[in-house]
């Protein structure tokens, strides 16, 4: 037991932070947003070259085969830097493909995509949720009906990241209805430019885009199958857990930076003849901020550790996400309050962290949903 970062993890943290400090300034982040770009291709290339896209992927495909805990540290730093690249959907999808490949439960396409994912040649994303805000398997209604060697997809997905620029999208579809909510799901790889696919990109609070994707009789052939038919939940469940933990890591990284900026501001800014950071009310607020973000970080890291151990992280990931969503928003709120009016102004940088961390906390399941999962896991 030692919950602090070990040497390898510290090395990742320091290396990634150094890189982003040098390469990913707030101006660069702002530029991508203002230009309406979906990604920063140069930054993406660098991340691929440094081996970070494949950090936790199997070495046979060119990955770094690092434990999930190290990947979590990488994501904390990416969140801290607000890296304007679709790291999250790419890595989440690649890990799911790699798991299917490892189990021998998919064709050659998935293995190829994992190899390409490590070097950034193919951008991957995934599509899960549909109409309701929930993330449970019962929300999946997109239908996949068998057609020869493949399937026909009909329906829609609600919030897909980086869809238009992705090479492939891993889509959760329902191949069977009427059974349990967990049963009858199948994961299929779809090319965004396949006939019958249409997408509308929607600008978010974070300044990036999420797409609403419609599937109108879209054909997916047998090679697009990932995992076993009707048993997609076996792969989806750990995929969702990893997605939640990496999302939490990004929120925590960005929120910690937003808090640190507020602490610095409190030291410099004067009011009533003193630095505002000398007032008890501000000091106590700052104490709460660091306590909350630390709590979110520890919950997130513990969930990551469970995943790295290969044990089920359902309870730990849900707890981390439920707590992180709400408490990190509270930290951001207090950071804004310390900045006063400047927190509101676009040309000051504080809002870059605020908007992104807040928007991320609205993705991948609400606090209420994750608390429902916690209660269930506690056998209440």
């Amino acid at each position: 037991m030692d919950v602090l970062l070990n040497e390898d993890e510290e090395m990742i943290r320091d290396g990634v932070r150094r890189f982003f400090d040098a390469e990913c300034s707030p101006d660069r982040v702002r530029g991508i947003e203002d230009g309406g770009a979906r990604t920063d291709p140069e930054l993406w290339r660098q991340l691929a070259e440094l081996g970070w896209l494949g950090l936790a992927l199997p070495s046979v495909y060119g990955g770094g085969e690092a434990p999930f805990t190290q990947l979590t540290v990488l994501f904390e730093e990416a969140g801290r830097a607000l890296a304007p690249v679709p790291l999250h959907p790419h890595v989440v999808t690649a890990l799911a493909l790699a798991e299917a490949v490892g189990r021998g439960e998919c064709g050659p396409l998935a293995a190829t995509l994992v190899s390409e994912a490590c070097v950034g040649d193919s951008l991957l994303t995934w599509a899960w949720s549909e109409r309701l805000p929930g993330m449970g398997p019962e929300t999946i209604e997109l239908s996949a009906t068998a057609d020869g060697n493949g399937w026909r997809l009909n329906g829609h997905k609600g919030m897909v990241e980086a869809f238009e620029i992705a090479g492939h999208c891993l889509v959760a579809a329902r191949t069977q209805t009427g059974g349990s909510a967990n049963g009858g799901l199948t994961l299929l790889l779809v090319a965004p430019n396949a006939p019958g696919v249409s997408a509308v990109a929607r600008r978010t609070l974070a300044g990036d885009f999420q797409s609403e994707v419609h599937f109108d009789n879209v054909y997916v052939d047998g090679d697009g199958l990932v995992g076993r038919v009707d048993e997609g939940w076996d792969l989806a469940r750990p995929m969702l857990q990893r997605a939640m933990v990496l999302n939490c890591a990004m929120i925590v990284g960005a929120t910690r930076r937003a808090a640190e900026r507020a602490f610095d501001y409190a030291k410099e800014r004067h009011a009533f003849g003193h630095p505002i950071g000398s007032f008890q009310a501000i000091q106590h607020t700052c104490a709460d901020m660091i306590t909350w973000v630390d709590g979110a970080e520890l919950l997130t890291r513990e969930a990551a550790w469970h995943i790295a151990q290969g044990s089920d992280a359902g309870l730990a990931a849900a707890a981390a996400k439920a707590f992180t969503n709400e408490r990190c928003q509270a930290v951001l709120r207090e950071a804004n309050q310390i900045h006063g009016g400047y927190a509101q102004v676009r040309e000051y940088d504080q809002q870059l962290w605020y908007r992104r961390a807040a928007a991320w906390s609205m993705r991948l399941g609400t606090s209420m949903e994750h608390r429902r999962a916690v209660a269930q896991a506690l056998e209440l």
Partner: protein, 389 residues
Amino acid sequence: MDFGFSEENEAFRAEIRAFIAENVSPEIVQEMHDGTQGAGIGPLTKDLIHKIGQRGWIGMSWPEEYGGRDADIIDQYIFEEELARARVPLNLGNFIEQAPAIMNAGTEAQKQYFLPRLVRGDVTFALGYTEPSGGTDLASLKTRAVADGDDFVINGQKVFTTRAESSSHIYLMARTDPEAPKHRGISIFLVPMDTPGITVRPLWTLPGGRTNEVFLEDVRVPKESMLGAENEGWNIGASALNLGRAGARRYCIYVSPFEDLLKYLQTDDLGRDIARDPVVRDKVAELYCEAQVARLFTMRSLSMVRRGQNPPYEISSEKIWGPEFQVRTTEAASQILGPYHQLWEGEAAPNGGSFPRQYVNAMVSTFGHGSTQVMRTAIARRGLGLPRE
């Protein structure tokens, strides 16, 4: 304790509602909305203000000689409430804050000049209080006004000067006696925005609105542009701020994100599905209770002002509870609507994207017009008699 409104009040409310139904078209609302984005006050809006003024609803508690009608402030409250409930983004702040100050402290000439023009919408004020070096700490004001013959020459900088780009005047606080203790030695000037030496630079805010920096370089104004006595600006400003705090407008701002959320959950197809979750219902019910407290705090302040009492802490309670409620609401909404709450614009965005806009906007209430920290200290000291250190 009487929490109800009289028949006359209700008749007046009906009159306002009818007026809004008849006179506030979607085009006007759009124009007013554009106005907050930097387009200034448009012709439809000016016309609407004029109509409102004709009916005696602007500054209706003012004396009759200045265009008011000595009305009960409850009518003022009802007027503001109805405007807000109909989501008419008409900023009548000048009539609530600057006009009373002019009535209280202005010369006869100032009253004659400004009050009718305020009613007609020909004069509008930007509020020139806040400076880069101190928002809440107004007393640390650095902008200087130096007497020079019959004039004052003003140098300094203001920030968060909303509507500076479209206002005819700035209601400007400047230091006239640098030797006096901090709260003393401050004066207020009513300065036309087209006075040479004034430069306005836009600051764009998160919800998409415009505020400004205002730079003042050797701005020369006649001594007659001073409001009230020299070096008495602090008290004039403070009493106007206090007057401005008793009214429905601010509480309506605090509760409007909740009302929008509630309506969305009650009426929208997706909203109704989301509201089936008992945990969502519990959270919304909690917010409802808190919204009522925001309303009741305003009604309490109003009741006190009507009795001629100067509320020792109650208006500060409004200014803590309401803004923090507003922020809590938007954070709760983010976990009720989940991914939909991030959608900033477009058809798919619930309520046309109002929720994330309210989310990033809510914070303004917690530091605008006196931060919640300063308000808490005021309650403790003025309301509860707790000692200074």
